[in-house]
Symmetry: C2
DNA sequence: TGTAAATATTTACATATGTCTATGTCTTTG
DNA sequence: CAAAGACATAGACATATGTAAATATTTACA
């Protein structure tokens, strides 16, 4: 167990952007989460997993949805997993990723939350 | 008038991530917005402007809040302005940036919106 | 008009990022 | 146990990014 918070945990700690100035440590904790989402391929991957039935999808399905190499998709999934936006579970030969929707909601609350 | 949508306009066009898979064009339109926010300095700048009274702030105040060079802050403000997250207005010698809160809310709705 | 102040632009550079090819690991099954 | 399939990791490379120094632009005012 690390004492460091994952970006997903960090995002729950702050009041909305428009409410009070974000501190440097908070900003440094949250930026990686946004960075993970700030790529067209990862945005689509996240959306595909989150909108898939059960909120999870197999890598085998995701690979076929892009004209990118399998290692590239694996790389992007790893980034989303590392910041805590996707959970990972291996079942037999296949790997399933599951969207952490509460993380998305925390992030949304931070970005769009009312000022007061 | 350009036929291209700014990222801020693009974000209003899509249903939430968890509702249906984001198309490639939509993802390419939205990613720049997230990219603009996905930096600790720009996150803080955005938060400082948005939480400032009147939703706007003078560059002179923002410069002092960071231990970064003036051109660097100017560069970050430009990025936030270009994607449409900040409006820019010059008054005399000073330049004021204003947060487009409806853009932040659209983005939040896209990220955290309910699946159905 | 000329000088100072506020902000932007240009240029340069070290580091980060997205992608691919090649290879490794793990699981199933013949 | 060997071979095949699913996914991850390592290494390499071109491009993008964050930053600063130097310079330009714009505005106010003496």
């Amino acid at each position: 167990m690390s004492l460091e918070l994952t970006p997903v945990q960090a995002v729950a700690c702050c009041s909305p952007l428009a409410r009070e100035p974000l501190s440097l440590p908070d900003a440094e904790g949250i930026a990686p989460l946004l960075k993970a989402l700030a790529d067209p391929v990862r945005l689509r991957l996240m959306s595909m997993v989150a909108s898939h039935e059960g909120g999870e999808a197999c890598v085998c399905d995701l690979n076929d949805a892009f004209e990118l190499s399998q290692p590239t998709i694996s790389h992007h999934l790893k980034i989303l997993h590392e910041v805590g936006l996707l959970d990972r579970e291996k079942r037999g030969v296949w790997v399933y990723y599951r969207a952490r929707t509460e993380a998305l909601q925390n992030l949304a609350a931070l970005i769009g939350g009312q000022a007061a």
